[in-house]
Amino acid sequence: MAPALWGRSAIPWKGQNLVKAFRFGQAAAVLTAGALALTACGGNSSVAGTSSADASGSATAAADYSTLSGTVTAGGSSAQANAQAAWSAGFKAQAAKVTINYDKSQGSGGGVTNFISGSYDFAGSDAYLSADQATKAQAVCGTGGAVNLPVYLDGVAIVFNLKGVDKLQLSAGTLAKIFTQQITSWDDAAIKADNPGATLPSTAITTVTRSDGSGTTQNFSNYLHQVAPDVWTAPASNKWPVAGSSAQQGGSGVVNTVKAGDGTIGYADHSAIGDLPAAAIKAGDKYVSFSQDGVTKAITTAVTPAKSTVAGDLGQDIDYTKLTSGDAYPIPLISYDILCTQFKDAAQAKLATAYIDYIVSDQGQKIAAKNAGSAPLPIELADKIRATLKTVS
């Protein structure tokens, strides 16, 4: 998934796992910590206060973590990075003696690898464990295995930059044709049909994609693969499969290239898009713009539990074709925290579950929505996560 734009604002196009850049990144992270909160608020002001999770579990937010002490070591998905930063700060305010170390430089792959080798208390990952990984996880977790907890919801935004056009509507078929480069100019009949009454210039279309392997690419290509299989024939993949696009590093690289060009269109984690306009995507017979509630609604309607041998596992498959209601955003994405059902050290289990309990609490989800632009978890999903957490020991 995309690293959020403002989380790396001093060095926006930087990769996640570069030794050279790494130290620089740490320093920059400190330097930009102040700017971070500010930008985040600006980016999401339009949706602030519309959270649907207001009613959920206020009791859990009041849970007392103050007696806990220790260190939770985790890492993985860079998409969660900003939310994790907000969560660990929020958790620290309630549990002063607990330190949360979340290493976003690992990426989802590294997070899972380190988790399976036993060095992490939990891993952040944009995909739930594959069957193979789940088997490997038993080596460190015992036969109980590991559970995938969907703690972070967001959406893939289709950003564009076209002179004279600030509103754009696209159907899935048109979107697939644009990104497979079958449509090459903005005044194409298919785009006109999606935007009745709009005046579209004949500017050539430049598609901007990710050059690095990414959970955002995985989600977006999965979406196209499901909803427009006749146009988009490639399977879902975390590596962009179509040649000839402008491939850029990181979600922020995509956003900046879209911003710098004319006639550009790209996809990015919604929290990373800044002030770029995003297209409304057709679902059913309505065009739906991104909203945090729209994502929550989409997750409520379109997910089915993934096959798992572990009780309480909450890995979810998204069926994008179900998103036709007109109030659900058609391209949601889920990021997981993965932890063992049976910790080697009971005290560590207590710490990790308390932290994730905080993450899914009303307060935790609100903090993430405010600072990372994520969508709040549906109430029933948050309840399921809590139920699973109770079984972790």
């Binding site: 060095i11 196009w13 930087k14 990769g15 996640q16 796992n17 570069l18 050279k20 850049a21 620089f24 860079s78 430089s105 690992q106 990426g107 989802s108 792959g109 590294g110 899972v112 690898t113 594959s130 193979d132 990984q133 050539a204 430049t206 901007v208 994609t209 050059s211 690095d212 392997g213 990414s214 959970g215 399977p235 993949s237 975390n238 590596k239 499969p241 040649a243 000839g244 696009s245 402008s246 491939a247 850029q248 590093q249 690289g253 900046n256 290239t257 710098a260 060009g261 006639g263 550009t264």
Partner: protein, 374 residues
């Protein structure tokens, strides 16, 4: 340091006959120091061997695996390739290709700067310029990447469109021209700036080491300054400059950040330099871009590409060393030519004679340049 090294030269050589007694009376401090320096020398070998071993051990499973059947390798970042070699060869091509373009641009400029500093500019300015050039080497590559994205991309875009429109019939400039500027040409320009300080700094040192006698002989015989440089500086510095360029190549091959940030890549072999999304990818930036999301076997595959880069870099460095060592043998014919050929200009003949006179210094001089470089 012109001419200075000559009187100092005998020092690193084996001590003359009288000294072995002193060597046998080694004191504890000597032994400690010898141990420290020996272990430092050994440790570098151990580290290098360790890196090679690590690369080999991690890469082997991915190299030998069936890429079309392995569930991890056939999907995600390594998906769509029949074997490890099908995956790594376009990457190796892209690595070399980007570096070669960069060197083609950087080398003439670097030699020009080095010559200006060593032979043309006033002394005070030379010091200042040398300092500035060294400073270029200290700029982190992330900064070069940002500069490439924010400044060079839009700056070079009109030129690339022009090249495509008017010179598009040349295969180099054919294809669908870039619309954002993220072409391999932009990347190579930034790479060129990054290798500039290396080539300049080494060439400058070598130019400065040209024996004053050679230069003065040429000037005394009426050669212009340019003729003097052609006749005395270039022949003297040739092997050093070649190895400077190869060291620059080594830097360009391993460069990650700037390339990853600027070039819009695809894993293909293509000679087109101004397209978008059809630029061959380099090994280093491919690893950087895909390592975070890669899973176990995919990581092994990426480490395997690292092994290939390791081999390429090793080959380049060995080549540089080989050139430095071979060059002296090429010099004797040069000395013969002016003396035997009456058709040559008097200046060149004089330089030849001067070189014959300085023949004793020849062996030492080559050792210095080699030792200083590699």
């Amino acid at each position: 340091m012109p001419d200075k090294p000559m009187p100092d030269m005998p020092m690193p050589d084996k001590p003359p006959a009288g000294k072995p007694k002193a060597a046998t009376r080694a004191r504890p401090a000597d032994r400690v120091f010898k141990f420290l320096s020996t272990s430092a020398a050994v440790s570098i070998m151990v580290i290098l061997a360790g890196v090679a071993l690590f690369l080999l051990v991690r890469a082997l499973p991915a190299i030998t695996a069936g890429w079309s059947t392995n569930p991890e390798l056939k999907s995600g970042v390594t998906g769509g390739f029949a074997s490890f070699w099908a995956y790594v060869s376009p990457l190796a091509f892209g690595t070399v290709w980007a570096s070669v373009i960069a060197l083609l641009m950087a080398t003439p400029v670097a030699i020009g700067i080095a010559l200006f500093i060593s032979h043309y500019s006033p002394r005070r300015m030379a010091n200042f310029l040398g300092y500035i050039i060294d400073l270029l080497a200290a700029v982190p590559s992330v900064v070069y990447g940002l500069w490439g994205i924010l400044v060079m991309r839009p700056f070079l875009l009109p030129m690339q469109e022009w090249l495509n429109a008017y010179l598009g019939w040349i295969p180099l400039f054919s294809g669908k021209v870039t619309s954002t500027g993220s072409s391999i040409l932009t990347g190579a320009v930034v790479l060129a700036v990054m290798v500039l300080p290396i080539i300049t700094a080494i060439s400058r040192e070598i130019f400065l080491q040209t024996p004053k006698l050679h230069e003065e002989a040429a000037l005394a015989l009426g050669a212009t300054r340019w003729e003097m440089i052609q006749l005395s500086v270039f022949p003297y510095a040739r092997s050093g400059v070649v190895s400077a360029v190869l060291l620059g190549l080594g830097r360009a091959l391993g460069e990650t950040m700037a390339v990853a940030m600027i070039i819009s890549p695809a894993i293909i072999a293509s000679f087109r330099i101004i397209t978008e999304g059809e630029n061959p990818q380099t090994i280093a930036s491919n690893i950087a871009l895909n390592f975070p999301i890669a899973t176990g076997m995919q990581r092994d595959a990426l480490i395997g590409t690292g092994l290939v880069l390791f081999v390429i870099s090793l080959a380049v460095n060995m080549l540089a060393r080989l050139i430095v060592n071979v060059k002296p043998r090429k010099k004797p014919p040069k000395k013969k030519v002016p003396t035997g050929d009456g058709g040559r200009s008097p200046a060149e003949a004089a330089v030849g004679a001067a070189m014959v006179a300085a023949v004793g210094a020849g062996a030492d001089r080559d050792r210095t340049s080699e030792g200083g470089l590699l």
